[in-house]
Amino acid sequence: MIASEASKVVGRVSAGLLGSYAFTWGFSALGIAGLVALGVDFHEAETGVLLLALLVFLGVFLWAFAAASLARVWLVLAGGGALMTAAAWALQRAVLG
C-alpha cells in the first residue's frame, strides 16, 4: 500500500517534470520553426515562443498532477512532445530545402 502510494507519487512527479519538459520542448521547437516558416525573424520567433513556453510548462505541470489518468498524462505530454519535435524537424528541413 505504502509502496504503491510512493510509486504513484514518483509517477506523477516524473510526469510533471519530464513529461512537461518534453511537451514544452516540442511546443518551443514547433512554434519557432512554424513562425520562421511563416516569415517571422528567427530571434523574434524564439523570444516570443519561449515566453509563451514558460506559461505552457506551468499549465501542463499543474495538469499533470490534477488529471485523473496518469497514462493519459504521459500519452499527451510525451507523445505530444515527440510529435511536435518531429514536426519541427520536418518543417526545418522543408524550409531550408
Partner: protein
C-alpha cells in the same frame, strides 16, 4: 491519486514548496542583496569607494591594457580541450591564442570598469560555435590601475551568482535547480490561490496573538498575496532570462541549422561581417567613433553615456566596433547600438528601433535585472524580495507547527528535521552572508587569495549554523521550539554590529561620515541595513525567548491536553507581556 482538485493543489503546494523552498529562500534572499550588488562591492573593496565614472578613453587607456590581458588559466584548463579539435593538430598553448574580440562594460553605479578579451580557438571542433577562451580585468578608470584579481567582488562576484546558480557550476546544475525552484514558485502561487480562494480577506488578516501555527499561516498568506504580482513577475522573468540559453536551448540544438542560416542572412542584411576576412588591418581611433555615436544619440534626442563597447574580429579587415548606449534612463539594458568599421571608423549601421516582441522581452528581463536609475524602485525590489523570504519562511514554520504535535506523539523526527533545515536556511543563511562581510574586514587586504578565504568563511559559517540547528533541535520532537532560532538571531545581531564596527576601524568610514559629512551612500546604505538587521534580530530573539518561556510554563504547570493549553496560553501571556 487525489480525491479532489483542491487536495491535489494542496499536495503540490506543500511538498514542492517544502523541497524547493530551501532553494527559493536562497534565490529570494541573495536576489534581494543583488539589487545592491555593486554597493556591496564598494563596502568590501574600500579602495573602490569613489563616484561612478564614465567610460574612459579607449585609445589612450583601455587599448593598452587590453593588449596585456591574458587568457584566463582556469577557463583555458576547463574549456580548451573541449573546444579544440585534436584531429587537426596539437592544442594551441594558452599564451599563443589569437585575440578575437575586445569588450568593456559599465553602468551608472560602477566606479570601476570591467573589460576583457575573447580569445579565439584556432582549430575548433565546431567552427560555427562560440569558440572563445576569456580573460578579463577590472580597472580604476581614473588612473588605469588594475585591481588585483584574487580580490573577490562580494556583491557582483559572489552574492549575485549565488542568486541564480547557487555556485554549483558543474554542468550548470545550480542554474537548473534554481530554474526548477522558480517554476515551483509559479506553481505554488497558482496552487496557493486555488487552496485559499478568499484572497481579498488574506490582505487584512494577521493575528500575531493566535498560536504560532495560525499566525504563521496568516503571515504566509499575507506576504504571498500582497506581493503576488511581484513574486510571479520575478519568477517568470528569471526563467525568461535564461530560457533561450539554458532551459530551452532549441535554437542551438534542434533548430541549429535554421538559426545558422538566419545568422548568415542577418550578417548580409546588416553589413556586419559574421566571419573574419583573414586579412590584417589596423584599428582606427575608437574615441572618434564614440564621439560620433554620442552625437548620433543626441541627434535622436537620447543623449547618453556608453554602456557597452565591443570590437569584433580584432585586427582583421572585417573587424567592426559596436557601441551601445547605457540603459540608465530606461528599463531595457543597453541599446541603440551603432556600428563602425574598425579599420576606418566609417559608419556601418545604426540599429533600427526595436520590434514589439523584443521590446516586450527587454522590458520583462530589464525590469528583473534593473540596471536603470531609480533608487526608490530598487528599495521596493528589496522589500518585495524580503516579503518573498518571509512568505517562504512562514511556509516552513506552518509546515512544522501543523505536524509537530502529531510527530511528537508518534515519535517521528520529521518536523524536527524540517525545522532544523528551516533554521539553517533562514537565520543560518543571514549568518553566512554577514560572516563573509566580517571576514572581509578582518582578513588583511594584502592576503594572497583573500577571496577564497572569504568564501570559506561564508560556507564554513553556514555549515556551523546547520550543525548548531541540528544539535539544538531535540525540543521540536517534543513539540517545543528549537532554541537555535533564538541563538542564531543573537549571532546575526552580534555579527552585523561587528561588521559595521570593523568597517569603521579598518577604513575609517563611520556612519556620521558616510551619511552626513562625506556622504557615500553605497557604504552608508549597507552599514544602516546591517544595523537594521541587528535590531530586527534582537526583537526576534526576545520574542522567541518569551515564547519558549511560555511553552515551558505550560509544560510544567498543567497536564491539560497540549492543544487546549496552546490555544489559551498566548492570549494570557500576551496580557502579562504587555501589562
Amino acid at each position: 491519486m487525489f480525491s479532489s482538485f483542491r487536495l491535489c493543489m494542496s499536495w503540490l503546494h506543500t511538498w514542492f514548496g517544502l523541497v524547493l523552498g530551501f532553494v527559493l529562500m536562497v534565490a529570494f534572499f541573495f536576489g534581494s542583496l543583488s539589487v545592491f550588488d555593486r554597493e556591496i562591492d564598494r563596502w568590501a573593496m574600500p579602495q573602490t569607494r569613489f563616484a561612478p565614472q564614465p567610460m574612459p578613453s579607449f585609445d589612450r587607456m583601455l587599448l593598452p591594457i587590453l593588449k596585456q590581458v591574458q587568457p584566463d588559466e582556469q577557463d583555458y584548463a576547463a574549456n580548451m580541450a573541449a573546444l579544440h579539435d585534436a584531429a587537426k593538430g596539437p592544442m594551441t598553448p594558452r599564451l599563443e591564442l589569437p585575440v578575437e574580440e575586445y569588450w568593456a562594460y559599465t553602468t551608472h553605479r560602477d566606479p570601476v570598469l570591467i573589460m576583457g578579451v575573447g580569445f579565439g580557438v584556432p582549430q575548433p571542433k565546431d567552427p560555427a560555435a562560440h569558440n572563445h577562451i576569456h580573460g578579463s580585468v577590472t580597472i580604476d578608470p581614473r588612473s588605469g590601475e588594475l585591481l588585483r584579481d584574487d580580490q573577490l567582488k562580494i556583491g557582483t562576484g559572489f552574492f549575485y551568482p549565488m542568486h541564480y546558480s547557487l555556485h554549483l557550476t558543474w554542468r550548470d546544475l545550480g542554474i537548473w535547480i534554481v530554474g526548477l525552484a522558480a517554476l515551483t514558485m509559479l506553481a505554488a502561487l497558482v496552487s496557493g490561490v486555488i487552496i485559499h480562494r478568499r484572497i481579498w480577506r488574506e490582505f487584512f488578516t494577521f493575528r500575531p496573538w493566535k498560536r504560532t501555527q495560525r499566525s504563521a499561516l496568516d503571515l504566509h498568506n499575507l506576504t504571498g498575496v500582497v506581493a503576488l504580482p511581484f513574486h510571479f513577475f520575478f519568477s517568470f522573468t528569471g526563467l525568461a532570462i535564461f530560457a533561450g540559453h539554458f532551459y530551452l536551448p532549441v535554437a542551438s540544438t534542434l533548430l541549429k541549422p535554421m538559426h545558422e542560416r538566419h545568422e548568415v542572412l542577418e550578417a548580409q542584411r546588416t553589413g556586419l561581417p559574421h566571419e573574419r576576412a583573414g586579412v590584417a588591418a589596423p584599428l582606427a581611433s575608437v574615441d572618434a567613433m564614440v564621439l560620433e555615436a554620442k552625437r548620433r544619440w543626441a541627434a535622436r534626442d537620447m543623449a547618453g553615456e556608453v554602456g557597452f563597447l565591443q570590437i569584433h574580429h580584432v585586427g582583421d579587415a572585417n573587424g567592426y566596433v559596436s557601441i551601445y548606449r547605457a540603459g540608465s534612463d530606461r528599463v531595457a539594458l543597453v541599446g541603440e547600438g551603432i556600428h563602425f568599421k574598425a579599420s576606418t571608423g566609417a559608419l556601418l549601421r545604426e540599429d533600427p528601433p526595436r520590434t514589439v516582441v523584443s521590446q516586450i522581452n527587454e522590458f520583462l528581463t530589464g525590469l528583473h535585472l534593473q540596471h536603470f536609475e531609480h533608487w526608490l524602485l530598487r528599495w521596493l525590489y528589496v522589500l518585495g524580495g524580503l516579503l518573498g523570504c518571509v512568505c517562504i519562511a512562514t511556509g516552513f514554520i506552518f509546515f512544522v507547527e501543523k505536524r509537530k504535535k502529531q510527530h511528537a506523539a508518534a515519535g517521528s523526527q520529521g518536523s524536527r528535521v524540517v525545522d532544523a533545515l528551516a533554521v539553517t536556511t533562514v537565520t543560518g543563511m543571514v549568518i553566512a552572508a554577514v560572516a563573509m562581510l566580517v571576514a572581509n574586514r578582518l582578513l588583511p587586504a594584502e592576503l594572497a587569495g583573500k577571496g577564497d578565504w572569504e568564501q570559506a568563511a561564508f560556507w564554513g559559517a553556514w555549515v556551523l549554523a546547520l550543525l548548531h540547528a541540528a544539535w539544538r533541535s531535540a525540543p521540536v520532537a517534543r513539540s517545543r521550539i528549537n532554541p537555535a532560532w533564538r541563538e542564531q538571531c543573537w549571532a546575526i545581531a552580534g555579527l552585523a554590529v561587528a561588521a559595521v564596527l570593523l568597517n569603521w576601524v579598518t577604513t575609517g568610514d563611520h556612519l556620521i561620515g558616510t551619511v552626513f559629512t562625506d556622504t557615500y551612500w553605497p557604504v552608508a546604505g549597507l552599514d544602516l541595513s546591517l544595523l537594521a538587521s541587528a535590531a530586527l534580530a534582537l526583537v526576534a530573539a526576545r520574542r522567541l525567548a518569551w515564547r519558549e518561556r511560555c511553552a515551558e510554563a505550560v509544560g510544567a504547570q498543567t497536564q491539560a491536553p497540549a492543544d487546549a493549553a496552546d490555544d489559551r496560553l498566548p492570549v494570557t501571556a500576551r496580557l502579562t507581556h504587555h501589562g
